[in-house]
Subunit: 429 residues, 2 copies
Amino acid sequence: MSRPRNLVVAQSGGPTPVINSSLRGVIEAARDLDQIGTVYGARHGIEGVLKEELLDLSAQSPDEVALLRYTPSAGSIGTCRYKLKDGQDEDFERVIEVFKAHDIGYFLYNGGNDSMDTANKIALLAQKRGLDLVGVGVPKTIDNDVGDSEFKLIDHTPGYGSTAKYWMHAVQNANEENMGSCPADPVLVLQAMGRKIGFIPAAARLADPAREMPLQIYLAESPCSLEQLADNVNDQLRQNGRCVVVISEGFDVGSLGEVKDSFGHTSFGSSQITVGQTVVNYLNKVGLATKGAARGNVSGTDQRHSIAYASCVDLDEAYRSGQKAAELAANGESGFMSTILRDPGMIYNVRYDKVPLPDVANSERTFPAEWITESGYDVTHEFVRYARPLIGEEMPSLPMLDGRQRLARFEPIFAEKKLPEYELQADRK
Amino acid sequence: MSRPRNLVVAQSGGPTPVINSSLRGVIEAARDLDQIGTVYGARHGIEGVLKEELLDLSAQSPDEVALLRYTPSAGSIGTCRYKLKDGQDEDFERVIEVFKAHDIGYFLYNGGNDSMDTANKIALLAQKRGLDLVGVGVPKTIDNDVGDSEFKLIDHTPGYGSTAKYWMHAVQNANEENMGSCPADPVLVLQAMGRKIGFIPAAARLADPAREMPLQIYLAESPCSLEQLADNVNDQLRQNGRCVVVISEGFDVGSLGEVKDSFGHTSFGSSQITVGQTVVNYLNKVGLATKGAARGNVSGTDQRHSIAYASCVDLDEAYRSGQKAAELAANGESGFMSTILRDPGMIYNVRYDKVPLPDVANSERTFPAEWITESGYDVTHEFVRYARPLIGEEMPSLPMLDGRQRLARFEPIFAEKKLPEYELQADRK
């Protein structure tokens, strides 16, 4: 067997409650894989590679690594929205230079479709430059928008199950609020993440599979005018005296004063007015069918870092996707993403497998049109059947210390810098 | 001993994660108090009394009553924002009439200062009208704004500890988000409830008593210009590259297109633009000291119905405040509120006592000025010392069933109506 070579793992894009579970899977798997030497975490994703900021994860306490399970978001090694674009040759060359300097034989990139493209390009360029580098992807998004629409490349992404569970709780509790407060506040509008793809708002239905709540779910894929939306809400008010509305941040309600990120995606978190607020204002302007006012919650990043609501199924699957990626790397399977494939039939079961990075990079998942009900503002039982197993049964048991969450804390042990400083080529946003 | 007479319990104003624990305390205590017959819950507070909608709580399954511990907000019997104002004599007379019709000897009103005033007025009027009615208050608010500023009438209100714990978690997790995402999103603005009083945003400090986070806390009591706020944030960015801002919904940032509720309070949940959004927009307009954009979360009612984050201390204290109120009622102690008083000294311990309703109604709590730091955007360790015991040590263990929270569900068993229908005198908003 050849000598062990080092591994760099990096995170990209928006974090999830379980992104650190994948990281833990990589670190712990690498301990048992002789082909892998030191595991480095790139500080803030590819930016950390460019700046040669490589956190030594093999040198961290095993307890802190295990605590990654209960540590949401990307604070431990950091993520970024820096995109290595075609034409930014200097950036690409710098990545190879850094990898050579630190004897990196394995590069694991944890992200969405864009990141799979980047991981693949880096692996290919490395070969050209005479560096034997294995590039492997690790799937991640709360949006569940990685892979294809037929769920063949990946059934669901780590992160989605936990955000789906967040929405199950949010809507159960918001329904109690709305039920209790309806004489004064008959309409409660909750804005969900997910840009153009409706998997997150759809998860609201998991709070009420039996359809007992006055719940309306608006996906970006099923647009209607504000006027129509207000009519729907008022119909519900006349019927039930109250209404809970879950709406996608990407639902088309006219101009929001949008801000774009470096991927060209709208950064809804930075918009001048939110979809939720626009809907609340419209409803209060045209007036409700019952007395009282509409009010709204825009929980924002809370839905991607509320570890108390994480799905134990998702936590486990994220971990195993990370393990699988490390295993693929050690086996020299460059150009693949570790993936989660669901067995057919009634019994929920998955296997961890690999799919080619270019297939993932060139695919675009959409929310199945047949899972949107005829009314346009709800999802079908087929969606519930798909998503229900992903949220599991139990609440995770968070370790608490002195009244606070005990979060993973790494020592600042970095690889020694061996190259001159480097200036990033692209803007981050 | 005289024959048992019936009890009406009603909720008023904004709900809390533990408001149902107080309700449970009343129901379960009444089982052991021979003076009390049937316990009725007024459907949607005083509105339910006026409309003679009295839910029979004594007829409910003991398991469902016990589940009130894990059922947030006021969905079980309902709250309202209907205020019995002086001059609405018809409403007051109707309340007495309904109480007479159902042999009500005890009226327990769960709310804030306004509700304590109403409870007292109803008890006094009842005496005048020849109805022997014991009126007792049960304290409640997430804002901790009941009672006096010296904490002599009440140390803290049930509900506050849980919302404080919510903010401890929210800021711990948001800090992970901000730490991980800072190259692209260096500023995360979180809007907290609490109108004019800063106990809720102040609780953000519980996430970081050692002051290791780049955290700024803006209370309505310590106003500054948006320009000054942006300067503070940019100073923090220059120092740490990131900043988490927690700001009160009532912080003065100019016009918000406000909506008032029936108490004359601003209903921030229905404003046309939120304080959080205004701050995000301003920061993005003037520009940040580092690259990237500001983004914001307005979690809204989530902070008052996230039962997963409830404080076990608060759950217990809310329950016991309810028990105490039932005990006061049974003992004929009309015109009092059950209260929580803290023992002096280092050891956290409370006793359940009574204070006169008019004292509570006529008091107005303020956030102690000496607990705001010199910078104006933080709170002192004295605040932490006050609030730390209220959030407890453990997470509550939520009962889950089929992947969802198992919430209390009452049967619709109502007292038979004995009076003609009645039209409410006041608007709800």
